[in-house]
């Protein structure tokens, strides 16, 4: 359980396992339900285009407590593939991303941050993870450098 008491729906784990084993799904975006009770799958996509994925995160929304819609945090898992600079082939790393834009409301930011470990712990087989808070953090090049530890 997370520090906020928020639960992870079983669908999160099954979708993640599908990504891990079948390799068809390229990314999953998870969200908290509007009542902040449970983490659910928002989208599982076979489109491996990074910019398409990035747009999804940038356009994510959350409702604040007085019902206003603003930018929203999300969790995501991306099956990240890259070629080693040394020419020794392709690597694939299942990457966990905690996306929490700095200009999102304080309430969604708080709930997402305090619920993150619950989701992370129920997904077995993550190769790497990072926290992203502004558009630069999810530029392809900066992610590539982070995930490959500079070896791409």
């Amino acid at each position: 359980m997370s520090q906020s008491g928020v639960d992870v729906s079983p669908e999160c784990v099954s979708t993640f396992n599908e990504l891990k084993l079948n390799k068809k799904i390229k990314f999953i975006i998870f969200k908290l339900t509007d009542d902040y009770k449970e983490i659910v799958v928002e989208e599982a996509s076979e489109n491996g285009d990074w910019d398409y994925f990035r747009e999804k995160l940038l356009n994510a929304e959350s409702k604040s407590k007085n019902g206003k819609v603003g930018k929203g945090p999300r969790y995501a898992v991306y099956d990240f593939n890259y070629d080693l600079a040394s020419g020794e082939g392709t690597r694939s790393k299942i990457t966990f991303i905690a996306w929490s834009p700095d200009d999102a409301g304080i309430q969604p930011k708080m709930v997402y941050a305090s619920s993150k470990d619950a989701l992370k712990r129920s997904l077995n087989g993550l190769a790497t993870e990072f926290q992203a808070n502004d558009t630069d953090d999810i530029e392809y090049q900066s992610v590539l450098a982070k995930v490959s530890k500079g070896l791409a």
């Binding site: 359980m1 520090q3 906020s4 008491g5 928020v6 639960d7 509007d34 009542d35 902040y36 009770k37 409702k63 407590k65 007085n66 019902g67 945090p73 905690a98 929490s100 834009p101 700095d102 999102a104 304080i106 309430q107 930011k109 708080m110 709930v111 997402y112 941050a113 305090s114 993150k116 470990d117 992370k120 990072f130 926290q131 808070n133 502004d134 953090d137």
Partner: protein, 466 residues
Amino acid sequence: MASSQPLTSSVQPTDVYGGDEVSAIILDPGYSSVRAGFAGEDAPKSFISSYYGFHNDRQIFGDDDTHNPLPGMEIRNPMSKDGVVEDWDVAKSLWHYSITSRLVPMKQTDPRTNGLNDDTKDMDVEMEGTEEEEKPLEEHPLLMTETAWNPSKNREKSIEIAMEEWGCPAFWLQRNSVLAAFAAGKATALVVDVGATITSVVCIHDGLILKKSIQKSPLAGNWVSSQIRALWNTSEPKIDLIPHFMIAAKTPVDAGAPAQATYQKFENITDSFRTREEERVLTEFKESVVQVWPGPGRLSSPNPAGTTNVDYVKAQPGRVFEFPNGANQMWNVERMNVVEGLWDEKAAIPIPGEPAVTKGQTIPEMIKASVNAVDMDLRAALLQNVVVTGGTTLINGFTDRLNQELLNMYPGTRIKINAAGLTTERRFGSWIGGSILGSLGTFHQMWISKKEYEEFGAGVVEKRCK
């Protein structure tokens, strides 16, 4: 009673909001102030000073009465300079006051025993009625914040008070640095908290404090005040720090001219009272005049023009500060000198009778020590997630300088500082974090219930609140 309904209609949890109404109370005690309020609200409704008056064996709380120049009244504080409770009896009463004065109405007490109708001659008639002590929080779960270094004895004491004396149905303790990190949207962060008596740097990974990374130093808000005192004491002519309450009347004077004021005389004003009133003037000075040299480099560093930054600042317009007695003068590079010691131990103004500032107490060195204490692989992530909180960080230029110092120490590393733009979010960061957490419907299952407490005792807090 209308006031026993704690949430106003505008913040009443709705289905959109997701919070079930639990009307939990969030209590965030610090050295200079106690913040208390209802979960789900944006800011603490009750904000009172931690300083209390001690007069004729009586404790006086709150911001009105403790500023009243009563003859012989001492000003004291139940917290240690480390931000942990020292005097439990007073701390308990102070927190009780912070909650009952603004949030929970005092229950009506029996007029025969509440002392209000006591006639001095039959004082000792019936005292057993007071046995049934008031339990003000019987309907309110209590979420308290604590410092990262709060000893386990103190943690157990907190739950004891909440459960036994206040009758809380449920209790939770949460580290304030973790709350500040979460409120910034980060489960992993390096939290720099500059408060009144203590500056701390703490690394947090996935919502857990890395114990080895905890760094503390007394170079915080009150230390800056003592630097200003030292500056004024050594000024030519020496500046007399006369607090507001002593001024009867004043007439405007030119800058630098002696004050034209008449003073009020008071009998038997204690030093501690005077010091605290002086502190208010110093606070005003800190808020309106003091500025951190924003960088690049340090205040003493050379600049491209071939001089030092000091010369550059001297050529810039200063800021005027008017003392309570009407005397006023321009402050130029001095307004930066008083905070330079936070970054550069050599720049600290020596205070007679106090040990010199060491390098390890400065903010950059604390961050370095903290980061060096954690795993290599984590360091980059921490430096990208520096969260700045605490009232003293609101001094102009603070975050710019912090950024400069970090870039200097870690060239080539991506540094990102997160400092809430809203003043309230910076001052009440951990309270607000607690407020959101405590209002979550799902947080229900986290609370330590009264039943659990009865079953396992106070030690349960160590097991549950990591």
